[in-house]
């Protein structure tokens, strides 16, 4: 009996501190943002009071959401962000697959080292990794000179590699690539090599073995990796901020501006709610796809 009370007490002691901390510093702030999206902006930034005295807006409103849909520019920025996230995910997948495949098919003793080598750049500071591309794509660097030299040969105007959509895409892929390599590798590593032998014995060529056997079996890894790339890219503001031009604004930049630039918190909160909904929908989709993939595997 005393043992049961004791174990209940232990359970409380272990579970409560982290739960309480995260309820306060993770869930509560999110709920407050959701609530703030129905408020008016304060006179000097921030939020307007809920109960008013004197002039100025107060109380709750749907105006922020109406404003979002009133101007197509906001939807356009959302769509542009989705496009950038899709392209980044596809490019990451294309680059990560051969690496993950190679690691999964290496001798066991080399695998951990190859994995470590793939995630090591990810351990260096995020800004440094973005900054590296400022150097490589910079107007005075060899790459820009070579590209513009070739463009000049065929009589075209020089282009700027830095501060362009291209630079943003390169930065996104570079920063998120390890997120794709790891889940792909863990998925590919589990495959039984006998399946491929069986396919070969049944007369499948290399392409058929990949497309009919390896690829479908790797789908859980593909979906997990895609979620890990797509979601952070969708909310990214720093890479477009550093590598992009003025026209490469994504949702993240728009949100940042509402909170730190024009200081319209309620509209920033509305944009945050929209982004959260998009992320949750995508996560649910990826989760479902991964579950179906796993069922496929069994």
């Amino acid at each position: 009996m005393s043992r049961m009370i004791e174990s209940r007490l232990t359970r409380r002691l272990v579970g409560t501190p982290p739960t309480l901390f995260l309820l306060i510093f993770f869930l509560a702030p999110f709920l407050i943002i959701a609530f703030a999206s129905f408020q008016y902006p304060g006179e000097f930034g921030g939020l307007a009071p809920l109960t008013g005295h004197g002039n100025g807006d107060h109380g709750l409103t749907l105006e922020n959401y109406q404003f979002f849909f009133s101007d197509f520019i906001f939807t356009e920025i959302f769509l542009h962000s989705l496009l950038v996230a899709t392209l980044s995910t596809l490019l990451c997948l294309l680059l990560a697959y051969p690496v993950a495949w190679l690691i999964a098919h290496s001798a066991r003793k080399h695998r951990d080292l190859l994995v470590l080598l793939a995630i090591l750049p990810f351990a260096s500071n995020f800004l440094i990794r973005v900054y590296a591309w400022m150097i490589i794509l910079g107007p005075q660097a060899a790459l820009a000179k070579a590209v513009n030299g070739m463009l000049a040969l065929i009589g075209l105007e020089p282009v700027s590699l830095l501060f362009s959509p291209f630079a943003v895409l390169v930065g996104m892929v570079y920063v998120h690539l390890p997120f794709m390599i790891l889940p792909l590798y863990t998925s590919l590593e589990r495959h039984d090599p006998l399946w491929l032998d069986a396919a070969q014995d049944l007369g499948a060529n290399a392409w058929q073995r990949f497309w009919r056997v390896t690829w479908p079996l790797s789908l859980p890894g593909v979906f997990a990796g895609s979620a890990l790339v797509f979601i952070p890219v969708l909310g990214m503001f720093a890479i477009p901020d550093i590598l992009g031009g003025t026209r490469d604004m994504l949702i993240g930049n728009l949100i940042k501006d509402q909170f730190l630039g024009v200081r319209d918190w309620p509209f920033g909160a509305t944009l945050s709610v929209m982004l959260t909904l998009a992320v949750l929908a995508l996560a649910a989709l990826a989760g479902r796809a991964a579950r179906q993939g796993r069922r496929h595997e069994q």
Binding site: S7, V14, G15, P18, T19, F21, L22, F25, F26, L27, A28, I32, I33, A36, G46, L47, L95, A96, P98, V99, W101, L102, H105, D112, L116, I119, L120, P121, A123, S124, N125, F126, L127, I128, R129, Y131, A132, M134, Q140, A141, A142, Y174, L177, P183, Y185, T186, P193, A206, I231, P232, G235, M236, A238, D241, G252, F259, L260, S272, T276, V279
Partner: protein
């Protein structure tokens, strides 16, 4: 073992190159005797001397270390508890709370904490708000590493301890903790590295009160790029490299846990 086709080797080698060449360029140009990061002129230690004399950068580095130390210590404590609770008691809510801050785009956590600190807690943004924010996103990483470590263990060990009359505390102190210690240490190092590295969430929660190394690097990149940035980058890379090596020595499963 089926050997990959030659072109797979080539493609993978190119991707590894893509991962490393940019960082190598940053390091090489930190020794370049030119203000422009464009072509190699000659070897110099000048930018490291500039860095050593940059008091703003040094203050920021001090802040970063203090924040990383405090936040990783707290996150390790809370994260270990969370990992234990999730393994042992299968709570419903906690896994979502733990994964949420890790899985959400950082900008969302940043702005929601900004509003929460100012509007609800009436806190002046500074060291404290940054530390609280860093704890929030680090707990998940520690919890996941600890949980993975626990999942690989034989439950019978804990049952044996209980059957022999050990109290929950004794079981934890003499059985569970020694077994998960490498995971806890690796999680702590990870939390430290993440805190040291964080830009986005710090950007929203630091206000004008406190500057960290990433914030300082950001303002240099945005305003005036000099190879001093390369020098500080090279040193930071060295530091994180050391942390990663130590962490992977501590817990062989860490790399696996990270995926």
């Amino acid at each position: 073992m089926r050997k990959p086709a030659p072109w797979v080797y080539l493609a993978a080698a190119m991707v590894y190159g893509f991962l490393y060449v940019p960082l190598l360029i940053v390091v090489v140009y930190s020794f370049n005797d030119s203000r422009l990061n464009a072509e190699w002129v000659g070897f110099t230690m000048h930018w490291y001397q500039v860095l050593a004399a940059d008091s703003d950068m040094l203050t920021a580095a001090g802040h970063s270390l203090l924040i990383a130390f405090t936040a990783s210590l707290s996150a390790t404590l809370l994260g270990t508890l969370a990992g234990l609770a999730m393994h042992r008691y299968r709570p419903r809510l906690l896994p979502y709370l733990v994964i949420g801050p890790v899985a959400m785009p950082e900008v969302l956590l940043g702005v929601s904490l900004l509003v929460f600190f100012i509007q609800v807690l009436h806190l002046t943004l500074g060291m404290l708000s940054v530390i609280l924010a860093h704890i929030t996103f680090s707990i998940g990483f520690v919890a996941i590493v600890v949980r993975v470590r626990l999942a690989g263990m034989d439950e019978k060990i804990f049952e044996a301890a209980r059957d022999l009359g050990a109290t929950p505390w004794q079981t934890f102190r003499w059985v569970t903790f020694p077994l998960i210690r490498p995971g806890v240490a690796a999680g702590a190092l990870m939390a430290f590295a993440l805190s040291l590295d964080d830009f986005v969430i710090t950007f929203f929660t630091a206000g004008v009160g406190v500057s960290t190394l990433p914030l300082q690097i950001y303002s240099m990149i945005k305003i005036a790029v000099t190879p001093e940035v390369n020098a500080v980058s090279a040193l930071l890379m060295l530091l994180t490299l050391a942390l990663v090596v130590i962490a992977s020595r501590l817990d062989k499963g860490l790399i696996r846990a990270a995926s």
